[in-house]
């Protein structure tokens, strides 16, 4: 989501500065359920107004701005429920908003006349990809988050650990890479270039966004749950 390293932010920084310096953080804002129109208020104030855990918000913001895969442990003040809520909202953003939007643009961009058999295949291919993402995220929503919710209540469900999830948290990007390659290298030229390139641009940024979403899961969420597991032996 963030393609460059940004400075670290503090609770007293202005929320509007955060967004203006790195507009990719808009996504984080909406996933924490923070709406715009916060004037000159600080991060702390805006979070309080929106009932968002400020520490967790800044941990995510600063992690994304770090542009690295730094394993975070012993994060003080991280609220697991707040982080989980963020991750859930991100899932519904991808499944219910971002991917359907790209699909609509894709259909518009490729020539879907009956002579163009490839167009039909591409859309089908995209659907197969979305299906995979959906399966992946539903698994997290149902299995992983349920497990963690029990953990938070001091109860360890048998036959599962966050390590199982971490080891199988595969990249679901292979299909998307294929789709990009086909459009870039092999899609027959002609037709509306502007629209197709624009769609491709969306696919790239969606992929990046998904990758940073996965980074938050791998490098903040998983280590935090591993620590929680140790406490509840």
């Amino acid at each position: 989501m963030c393609n460059h390293t940004t400075r670290m932010y503090k609770p007293t920084d202005k929320m509007s500065d955060l967004i203006c310096e790195n507009y990719a953080l808009l996504q984080v804002l909406s996933r924490f359920g923070v709406s715009l129109g916060f004037g000159d208020k600080s991060v702390q104030e805006v979070c309080a107004m929106n009932h968002v855990d400020c520490n967790t918000f800044l941990i995510v913001v600063n992690f994304l701005g770090e542009e690295s895969n730094h394993i975070h442990d012993h994060l003080s003040g991280l609220s697991i429920p707040a982080l989980m809520d963020y991750l859930k909202r991100a899932h519904s953003y991808f499944l219910d908003f971002q991917l359907p939007t790209i699909r609509r643009k894709l259909i518009e961009a490729i020539d879907c006349s009956s002579e163009n058999e490839v167009a039909f295949l591409i859309v089908q291919f995209f659907d197969a990809y979305v299906h995979e993402v959906r399966k992946h995220m539903e698994y997290e929503n149902e299995k992983v988050f349920t497990y963690v919710e029990h953990l938070l209540q001091g109860e360890r469900l048998p036959d599962y650990s966050i390590g199982v999830f971490a080891r199988h948290h595969d990249q679901i990007n292979a299909k998307l890479t294929d789709l990009k390659n086909i459009i870039i290298k092999y899609y027959p030229s002609g037709g509306d270039n502007q629209l197709l390139n624009d769609t491709l641009f969306d696919i790239f940024s969606c992929e990046e966004d998904l990758a940073s979403h996965n980074r938050v899961e791998d490098y903040i969420f998983v280590p935090a749950i591993m620590e929680l597991e140790k406490e509840i032996k």
Binding site: S68, N69, H74, V118, L121, N181, Y186, V222
Partner: protein
């Protein structure tokens, strides 16, 4: 040579300045696609080993007091990992047993890239090979998208299953297409098959 395969490297170093410096050099190495995992504590190292499978661990020999490579290898015997020491202070030679290589603060881009290629056994691989498919490979693409199994393809073309697998691996590498469905679209666009012949398994 351009290697598309991602190499996973974990960097365990407590100094943020040194760690970030090495990480940004690693990410900029030409011809290599490297994913770096940053580790700054013993706890983090354990998390990393539980959740990720780095191929190379670059570690300060004094990480956590003294990092014992031999004991570490015994703790994680299933991970075929290479160990590289990150040296920028005086270290006793006895502490460097068990490492596969070492890097220092003044290593340049070329020597760093060379070391990684050596460790990954990738030096000199795939040099000068073209990215277009051979006639045989095209035939195989045709078979794959018609839904034939490796065994069926082998029988049809009078080659061994092993050869089919090798061809398929080369096709994936050359085209950068990893799924059967992606291959199908490639085959149709390039007129290797007709849409009606394709067995849809998207």
């Amino acid at each position: 040579m351009k290697s598309q395969e991602t190499i996973y490297i974990a960097v365990a170093e407590k100094s943020m300045i040194v760690r970030s410096g090495l990480v940004s050099v690693l990410r900029r190495l030409p011809d290599l696609t490297i994913q770096v995992i940053e580790i700054s504590s013993e706890e983090g190292l354990r998390h990393c080993m539980e959740a990720h499978k780095p191929q190379i661990l670059v570690i300060n020999p004094q990480f956590g007091g003294w990092f014992d490579v031999v004991a570490f290898k015994q703790e994680y015997p299933e991970a075929p990992m290479k160990f590289v020491s990150l040296i920028y202070t005086m270290v006793d030679a006895s502490q460097l047993k068990g490492y596969d290589d070492s890097v220092g603060l003044f290593d340049d881009v070329d020597s760093l890239a060379h070391k990684i290629l050596q460790l990954m056994n990738m030096a000199g691989e795939e040099d000068g090979e073209s990215d277009s498919l051979s006639q045989r490979e095209k035939e195989i693409v045709g078979c794959v998208v018609r839904g034939m199994t490796n065994k069926e393809i082998a029988e049809k073309l009078y080659i061994s299953v092993h050869t089919v697998i090798t061809h398929r691996r080369n096709i994936t590498r050359k085209l950068q297409i990893h799924s059967a469905a992606g291959l199908t679209i490639y085959a149709i666009v390039n007129k290797l098959v007709e849409l009606s012949e394709v067995k849809m398994n998207l």
